[in-house]
Amino acid sequence: MNFSEILKFLIDLLAVFLLALGIKGLSKVRSARDANRLAAIAMTLAVVGVFVNSLGGSGIPLNAWAWIIVGSLVGTLLGAVVAKRVAMTAMPETVALFNGCGGMSSLLVALAVAFFPLSNSYGEVSTGLVEKISIVISVFVGSITFTGSIVAMAKLQGWLPTPGWMQSKMRHLINIALGVVALVSISTLLSGGDNGLWLLVISSALLGIGVTLPIGGADMPVVISLLNSYSGVAAASAGFVVGSQLLIVAGAMVGAAGLILTQVMCNGMNRSLVSVLFGGALGSTNSSGSAGSGEYINITSCSVEECALTLEAAERVIIVPGYGLAVAQAQHTLREVTRVLEGSGVEVTYAIHPVAGRMPGHMNVLLAEADVPYEQLKEMDIVNPEFPATDVVLVLGANDVVNPQAKNDPSSPLYGMPVLDVQEARTVFVVKRGMSAGYSGIKNDLFDLANTSMVFGDAKKVLGDLLVELKELGISGKS
């Protein structure tokens, strides 16, 4: 070992240590931001390590520098622009997009090495079986990660509907067929054939699409988390391909941590990973069942004015935010409304369901952006016993997470999912654009209850009108 190799080794060790600390710190609110920076520093260190090693060894040729600079400039600039520009509400799809690109990167590395074998750091020419296996894994997992993430992004953006035929049993047949094709091409590749590679790329790319496309939007965060875990696996196997232990450690850590996070998310929704992956979108498969559809019989709709009057008279109000609030970008208007209410002595809290919105923590981020004090956000287990003592609940663009069916109706696909018991409150206002079903496509029994009134309209518009009404009622906010 010469000096630069030792130096690289030490840098790598430090980088792994800092990465581990970073992942650890990201799971605690207080340390999360510093932990994220720590991980970024660790990544920079890792890059420095590669340069140190190469400069101390055979050096880096000029043309290589040119390609490095071009690639990193384009990637860095685009990444920075997207990260700064993207709306907070579009976070889930942004993470999916980034993740897909990570998978693509691993895929490209593996393909390049497959076509142009490198002499690697095992010191031998790369024809070994292990190297072939790692290339195959990189290609397989990388392709699935890429197409799966892009589909997830497109679905969250609303660019892609769930095609009807994808809900039928046929999709399992198609996916199994694709899987078989992938396996066949893998075995050809491993037994020495070269033709299997493109077949493998295509079949695994299609498999990524086929598996992700039927999954309903509410389950999408789980899928993204799983795909994130895959991209860790892809990185680890790329580490085998180019002979980098640092890559293997980091990839393995992300892969395993992603798997745990996926499990935690599933628990939060009371869904098993298997049912998320293979169950298809909730409800749409049994929409003919009694629980899935059904007519609303007792809908009460009311005006913004009535809503304002009731709110003014209330002592305790709980706000239940959902995806609709995020879509309408109404968090700031909501904050103004609650400031006025608080100014007149109404006690306002926010009930945060673990999977409200399209991603866990979505609502926390959204409300934090609008300066809602952190202490006013209450998690489900804490807030549920408080509903019976609450005068008014304002449901803003949330649907499935307040559906009492999950508690009362064993035949409902939602049955067993923990929900917010808003119906226990004296009055419930549901602000909603229309009577369309929630993401699960299931009828919401809450809307039929006697103490529920619907206020139809876009959340931002309704809240804006509400603000005007409240001010006209003579309440002057302190702020």
């Binding site: 970073g22 992942i23 990201l26 799971s27 609110v29 999360a32 991980a39 970024a40 990544m43 890792a46 290589a64 390609w67 490095i68 071009v70 690639g71 990193s72 685009l78 990444g79 920075a80 990260a83 993207v86 980034f98 990570g102 693509m104 990167s105 490209l108 390049a112 142009f116 490198l118 750091s121 965060p221 994130n228 991209s231 860790g232 990185a235 680890a236 580490g239 085998f240 180019v242 002979g243 980098s244 232990q245 890559l247 980091a250 990839g251 393995a252 850590m253 992300v254 395993a256 941590a257 992603g258 935690v264 939060g268 673990p354 991603m359 866990p360 923590g361 934090a368 004090p373 952190y374």
Partner: protein, 97 residues
């Protein structure tokens, strides 16, 4: 063979570490944690770098390496910045009270 056997140990221990690191995560942090871990998975940029450095005068290899590096850095830079943006909202709140 020595690299390989070491590599498998590294793989095993890395996976175990990953399993241990995330014990209890508050739901608030699910999205940032996912996004942060996602940025780290862009570590394949090291593989892309290695590829370019070792490519010599092989033009296709240089191009693929460069594109791959671009994709990876898009993931890393974007991932960390977006995570920071999300987390900034939490820390601002807690420092004000």
């Amino acid at each position: 063979m020595s690299f390989l056997s070491e590599a498998f140990w590294v793989l095993l221990l890395g996976s175990l570490l990953g399993l241990e690191l995330i014990g209890k995560v508050p739901p608030t942090l699910h999205t940032p944690l996912m996004s942060g871990a996602n940025a780290i998975s862009g570590i394949t940029m090291l593989a892309a770098l290695t590829l370019i450095i070792k490519a010599g005068n092989n033009l296709p290899l240089l191009v693929i390496g460069s594109v791959s590096l671009g994709f990876a850095l898009f993931n890393v830079v974007g991932g960390f910045l977006v995570t920071d943006r999300m987390l900034a909202m939490f820390s601002r709140k807690s420092s004000r009270k």
